[in-house]
Subunit: 176 residues, 2 copies
DNA sequence: CGTCCGCTTGACTCAGATCAAACTTGGTGG
DNA sequence: CCACCAAGTTTGATCTGAGTCAAGCGGACG
C-alpha cells in the first residue's frame, strides 16, 4: 500500500531527522509543515487528557507514515512522540500536496492508503467495543492471524486496552 | 466537508433507491459497484462475529456517505444495514473514480473527507480505550461539545460501548 | 386507552483492575 | 564468567465498576 507511494515520495526533496526517545516529532496545534515517513524506530500519536492520562491513537513503525491525515489540514490534531530512537524522512507538505494535485496515480495511492487507515481504525474501535478480554483477543487474532511472540504481549495489552496481567491470564488459560 | 463534494457528486448520473428497515444496502465481500449517499434515514456499517454478536463500525445519517473507504477496493469489507427506512443516492463507482482521477479538486475534497474519517475513527477508538464510563463520557463530551438530548442516550450508550443502564446512572450522578 | 420504547432505580454478580511478590531472560559492566 | 539490573511475565489476593435481570415510570402515538 504505502510501498506504492514510496517511489513517488522518494522523488521529492527530503530531509532526514533523528529523534531521541521521548522527543516530540510535532505537537498538537503546530502548523503542518512536513509529512513524516518513519525509517527506523517507533513513534506514537498520542493525545493527553485533562486528568493526566495519555491515549495512543496510532503506533507507527519503520515504513509507515505519520500524520497522513494532515496533508490538507492546517494543524496537527495530536502529539507525535518517539518511544524509541527514530529516524524519519521529512517531506515538505507543499511538495507532497503538489504531487497529489498533479498526479492522479499518486492521488489514488494516497486515497487507498487513507482508506486502509480508516479500516484499521474502525477495526480497532470494533475490537475495543467488545466487553471481555477473551472476545477482544479473539477479534484481534481473527484480524492479525495469530498471537504475537512473547516479548510483545504487554504492548498488545495496551493496544486492546486491558491490563497486562489480565491478558497474561487469558493467554495462560488458553494454554491449559 | 462532504458538502464540498456534493456539487461534484450531483453532477454525476445517479439513481435513487429506498431500503426498508433491516434491509441490507450491501453485503460484505460483494463487489463494489456503487457508492452510497444517504439522503434520508440511517444506515449502519456492521460486522458479524462468529459468536453471533454484531459490532457497529459506523452510523451514517442523512448527508453522509457510506463506504467511502471502498472507492478503490474491490469488495466491501462489512455489511450495511438500514436501521430505519433509508433513501439513498447510488453513484456508479467507475464514474466517481473517473471524477477522482480527472479532477484534482475533487480528489482533494475526497482526501480531506477520508482524513476526517480517520480522525473520527481514531477518536472513537481513543474513547473506547478508556476504562470507566465517567471517562468515556467526558471524552465524548469534550469531542462533541455537549451531552445529547434525552431521546438519544441509548444510542450514545451503544456508541461508547456501555450498557444503557450504566450510562443513565452516570448521567443521573452528574445531575445530583 | 393501551402499547411501545426509552428512561429510572434497585439488587446481585463477576470480569477485570490494582497491588504485590516472585521468577525468567537478556544485556551490561566488572 | 558472574553479579546485577531492567523488562516482561507469572501468579495470588482483594476490591470495585459496570453488566445483567427485574420492576416500575412517563411520554408518544396509533
Amino acid at each position: 500500500m504505502i510501498s506504492i507511494m514510496i517511489d513517488w515520495i522518494r522523488s521529492l526533496p527530503q530531509q532526514q531527522h533523528t529523534y531521541e526517545e521521548g522527543q516530540h516529532l510535532f505537537h498538537r496545534n503546530d502548523p503542518v509543515r512536513s509529512m513524516f515517513f518513519i525509517e527506523e524506530g517507533t513513534a506514537q500519536l498520542v493525545r493527553h487528557h485533562r486528568d493526566g492520562g495519555v491515549a495512543v491513537l496510532q503506533r507507527a513503525g519503520p515504513g509507515s507514515m505519520l500524520a497522513e491525515a494532515s496533508l490538507f489540514a492546517s494543524a496537527y490534531h495530536c502529539d507525535a512522540v518517539a518511544i524509541e530512537p527514530v529516524t524519519a524522512m521529512l517531506i515538505a507538505r507543499r511538495n507532497l500536496r503538489r504531487l497529489f494535485l498533479t498526479s492522479p496515480d499518486f492521488a489514488q495511492a494516497w486515497a487507498m492508503h487513507l482508506s486502509a487507515e480508516v479500516r484499521n481504525a474502525r477495526t480497532r474501535a470494533e475490537i475495543l467495543s467488545l466487553r471481555t478480554i477473551a472476545q477482544r483477543l479473539d477479534a484481534w487474532i481473527a484480524e492479525k492471524g495469530a498471537l504475537p511472540d512473547k516479548g510483545s504481549w504487554k504492548s498488545l495489552a495496551l493496544e486492546i486496552a486491558v491490563s497486562p496481567e489480565a491478558l497474561y491470564r487469558e493467554i495462560a488459560r488458553r494454554r491449559q
